[in-house]
Symmetry: D4
Subunit: 251 residues, 8 copies
């Protein structure tokens, strides 16, 4: 397959295939079947992102295998999400990764240098929302974004949030992470003029119903310019924010 890509790139070099055509063709490229998974080798080209492995439900051996397959095809920087500490240690014994304990995330290779339009602010309502927030923040950093963390700025103590008003207003994208009643997303949405990605968390008890209260609250936010991802989906929020922070003109 590599030779296939090489051939295509040579055609581009030779001017017999335009860059745009080549891009379109690459977006259709296949994957490598390594038995327990179909490793997607050109996602970076096709979707503008490096490969990401969802670690939950995969063995350390499987994860290491996928990492090697990707590395053999030139994909050296890989993000592994939902990976617990024990399994991370097992993977690391097979192939080196850097593990981030708070976020349950590991990175093979290195984080991309910041290349976005501006800063992504990750804000949380309470300290319990931190694991989800860190998943979002590290995902965004891995994908080449500068990240500012504003943790424990819940709206019940509005002065804590308002004291960070300037950081919020200068943000390129804000990721609002909150459980319980999820009001943080609405209040931030009313303060800033950039896109807000709201992440409900399963933090809370009783009628929080595992994040449902925060999810519904955020979907009904009366502040415009807000969109929502799944409960506890820090990765999805970081990924979306990165896409937005890397927008560029398309003719």
């Amino acid at each position: 397959m590599n030779s296939e890509i090489k051939a295509l790139l040579e055609q581009v070099q030779a001017g017999t295939v335009s860059v745009e055509d080549a891009m379109l063709r690459l977006k259709d490229q296949p994957y490598e079947d390594i038995g327990y998974a179909k490793v997607d080798l050109h996602r970076q080209v096709r979707q503008g992102a490096a490969e990401v492995i969802y670690g939950a439900g995969k063995t350390a051996q499987q994860i290491a295998g996928i990492l090697r397959s990707l590395e053999d095809n030139g994909q050296k920087n890989v993000l592994i999400t939902r990976l617990d500490a024990e399994k991370a240690a097992q993977v690391n014994a097979l192939t080196p990764i850097t593990y981030y304990n708070d976020a349950h995330i590991a990175i093979a290779g290195t984080m991309a240098a910041p290349s976005g339009l501006g800063t992504i602010v990750v804000a949380t309502g309470g300290t319990s929302d931190m694991p989800v927030a860190e998943e979002a923040a590290l995902t965004a950093q891995f994908l080449g974004n500068e990240v500012i963390r504003l943790y424990d700025v819940g709206v019940a103590g509005l002065h804590r949030l308002l004291s960070h008003r300037q950081e919020l207003m200068k943000a390129s994208v804000v990721i609002a992470v909150a459980g319980m009643e999820g009001a943080l997303a609405t209040v931030i949405g009313g303060l800033v003029d950039c896109p807000v990605i709201a992440v409900p968390t399963s933090v809370g008890y009783g009628a929080a119903f595992g994040g449902l209260a925060a999810l519904l609250s955020m979907l009904n936010s009366c502040a415009s310019g807000t969109a929502v991802v799944n409960i506890d989906n820090g990765f999805g929020a970081g990924f979306m924010a990165s896409r937005i922070n890397h927008m560029e003109a398309k003719k």
Copy 2:
């Protein structure tokens, strides 16, 4: 039954029954059965409130009948909730009432003069929450409270709410009325140091699910000092706020 009460009061006057004993006995007093309803004649004594008629599902004739029965027993000031304009006109033709169109409330007799500890502030997130808010506000006024209305101060435009900070901070009780994501209750709860009664409304669409989103949001509010009533239950909020605003020392 009236003579029964009279006898009791005469005993109190004569000093053979203490005031407290009389109060306790009155709290056990019965009601008048007028066929289609059991009119509760001593609720004012027993629960510290004038009689309230839930208008929905009763005919104009029935409402007028209850009003007359109450009046015959000395209960001249009566609040009628959930009464539409047409039925109100029919009742008015039988016995005089004052109708408040926004709140779907009517009052027989007069409103009580303000007698509470302070002011009750009724705040709403949007203009669509007004009918519920008016139900709360008029209930509180009827029960002898001074009421300040702060409508359309939703948190998506935080400056509108913050510009009324002083009124909020001086309130005795705040009733926070909001639909959609219901964040208003949490933000106000974080600003004030008085009890907050949160009223979710059925305003909104889609995942608002008829007020469920606001209800869950308010129940999970991260601000202490907040309690919640049923969706659209302006009357319940006004009644509860009035009770709190009329607290007095009990030895």
Copy 3:
């Protein structure tokens, strides 16, 4: 208030106040209270958007009044959402608006000229999703975006969607509008490398539960780079897409 802004701008002109400081101060500016609503006069400055009126639950007189208040303060271009045809005619009799029947949207003034980074594609699963899609499309156009409509490209006939692959891949932002099982968002999310805003609609019957099936499906999308707005919230999707399409570098 206008003089206040004028004074500020004169200070900027004189160099005694920096542009950035002025921007920050303007973002804190108040609103005009016209009785039935608190008209937000500086939202365009504060949030980068022209004023939007939620038409449902307001009378034609109230809408016309708000339009005049905005116009007096220099806000000539206003979007009115959730406005039925009859009320639109009544508003038009008071102050001129342009009504879009499919989308239940009216516009006072003119649409902004396209100024975004690229094109926003609005795709729907079926013809019944069109009203929501039009709300999204017209909102985006009003806010200065070029919009391409791909309607009736549901995934049950995958060839219809795939035949529009090039338009999808060149989009700056895609708004995926679908009811029933809502799979459109996931399939598009797997094809493109730009942000996708998913809008569940209440189209469907039975276990569609008023859009709940599509909402849950979209929140759980296995495609990265997708975020979700409320059921039938075409306006919210168009607004969010416009923000993303107008991203620019912030230092």
Copy 4:
């Protein structure tokens, strides 16, 4: 009871009872009561399927006892579902079975030789859906069907699915197994012209709500020719697919 059947068959042989009459009478035949279960001895005749034991909640002793009872009545091939590895080992110590670890399924006796109209394709959205898919695939194999497995072909990477288009189009029945947003069933349903059995799985988190999102999505599929079984019910899907794959003309 065996003699009863024998007598009936002799009557058939003698021509005094027609085959069809005998079939109808056999379908009414009883069962053996072995204390802890009523073993259904003629289900193969009555419902065209060998016996299946639901292993969850039964002890190894009970399962072995049922196996022996069935064997004594001539039922040698038995499928045991929802059986964990430890209990399987205990059963195997009492009476020989073959255990399939991925599917939590064991088989006493042998699998039936393929006898269906064509091939059953079992497709999954991700690797985490494999246990449910294997339950479906092994059930179908046990019941005499040829099975092709297409795992990890989720619609977020549409090219992976489309590269298997020919296998899908030639299938007799497709079993689509997917968690999260469950879009796989709809997309496959739009590609093929054979019956599709959709199996929602409990894979996912947050608003996946234990498979509810996938279930609702599949029930609302806009592709015709699809029907749904319970969440994680691989056995039910395999059984249904086998029935369909063994259809024959009835006059």
Copy 5:
């Protein structure tokens, strides 16, 4: 496009393209865009079914337009579902259709002659389930199936159902239509040895929750060989049953 198909068929005739290859290419064929809908012209080839129009939400003019477009491309037999009587009359004034009042279904052209493996039995729990059952029955008839109707055989009067045992046992496919507690599907599923398609209906009140009780009941059926379609989805059941009844060997 027609010429395109013609060319292909000529190649088949000439032997330069095999029949199978031609089939595969035809399955990829496009559709006609008539403005308000993308008419799918080769669905019969691709999915083995004639065209079906979902009538709800389309005007009589649109439906007639689609019918004409289909007819121009040789598709003369069309099923129109969810069509109320008034709109049916309007369509009929433009282009002739046959309307079935009970089922809210219309047919352009003629029903296909029965060509399936056997008979499809449509059974209902009560008389109120008849509209959904008729939608299923007429869909199956339109697609070339012989249909037997067993209405009002709910399990609360088991003898009514059991008296039809022979018809049930001889069926090729059974469609079990029931609201309220939906037990019909389970009881039939235990009696027959053919595939059962269960259709929950929204018949019932209170805790029937619009068909949810029947839906959950059917999904949890303890009888094997049953699969479920959406609430009130008679069309889907008839379509699925027809596919099953037209199974044939694929090599």
Copy 6:
């Protein structure tokens, strides 16, 4: 208090208080407060039942203490529900009880001799429903009822149920215990002419939602003469059935 009761009984003996008056006064009698619980000493008189202790959430010491308090007041026969084996052994070390492992029930003293109008039949859909069924059966036996157990007679194998038709038809009350789709209650309800108490169980998986499917199914049963108790509430069903089986004429 005992003396109080003694006095009353002496008055009855002397003829100065009628039996009926005594009964009414006894029904108002108080309880003994033993710190961690308010032991209800006259429930047998007041509600016609011996005392029952809900074992879950109480320590062995507390249960033994309550047993002693009851014994001191003449209540020797006590039923303890939801008691696990380990705690039962601890209680037994303090005061003798008989433990029933399947039902998680213990009995202090003896079971009452059968005294009801007839037999109570306890039927289950499957073997997994047995613990709940045993809780119902033992409760009924403890309260003086003859009980017949018909386990594993689920409706998917209707012949198993129908072979017990005579026992069912002769029952005084039937308790129908079933999880999954809960159809057993409806089918039995259609066969018998005595009251049926339906008990949904949490047996099942996926869309069984912890017993919700069976609960809704039973509430919507199309068979008259059926009422439902809480999920897994075998005790409640046995208690209710016993009350019905002990009905006698009241003038």
Copy 7:
């Protein structure tokens, strides 16, 4: 069929068939198929109840037809439920019935004379629960029970309920009808020693969710001796109560 029954009865008379055998055989008897319904002619024998017609969704002509079919077979007393006033008038023009407006119930023939063990008390929480309560009360009266109505005795005014304590304690069965929070069933359940049938109603608003709150409340009642029927199912409660009130010894 009538002759069939006649023959059987003659055999009973002749002593060749025992009464019990005859009863059992009659319980298996069929029904008359009158096209739009299968009229169940021997339900009275089989289930101990006269015929009941569910009026909703049937035309006046159909109802009258069923009445005539029943009358021809000797069933003169028939209960028709869920019948609105207009349709009742139409039926009455065809065949005489007595209509009860409050309960939406009609009766053909006459009510049975009271024959039960004692009195059935029907209690409601409020006046709005009356239609459901009347459906229960009239059903019970039709089936031969003496009924006492205690309406508007909700637990918020406990003295109203307690003043009827004697009637409650002397009841044979109590039907507790309540919407909103449904506490009436629990409080009555704690007062009486007879079976209580709880009927949740859809009375209420907001978080009453159409009767769900009352339903859940009643299912979780901490009072033993209570069972629950579907929301608003007054008929079911009256039927069940009648069965219990007609219990007699079975050997």
Copy 8:
């Protein structure tokens, strides 16, 4: 920051700042950022309450750190909720606290002397509700309230509740704690004339759905003067009750 406050207080002393202005300014005061939490140093002034630490999800080290930070700023009395016994011991090893095992609450410093208007009564339906009730009771005591506990007074044994009528009627505020059907709040609400705070608990099983049944029941309470907090939120109830019990006149 301390000096800042000192300066303000000196201005107050000097008469240059009024007491009210100082209060308002203090309410806006910031917090101390100690890395893992933003410690709110002036909440007592701003919200009239001492600091409260939510213990769940914080390490013993973090809790001790926050305690020291608060102590350094003069906040010596601190309530720690949701703290398990083991972690409490670890905190105690670092800085002295008093642990209350039943309520999972710890207190640093001392409880405030009772200073409220009257007594707060905490009532529970059963013994299993005690942990939540103790959380409420200790919170109220910590905040300076006299508390009376009425445990195990559930409404199924109404006489137990009614025997405490006098304590209830003399209460300043009642906190009604109940799981299962939650009827306690309504019954108490009908007896007393003071505010009632209802706390649903997750006690129960089956259709209790983790407290949902009690929550809905309480929200729909037909007794006026009741408001509800989140499931199991004893702290919130105690806090709200304390606020109400400390009401004083505001001019």
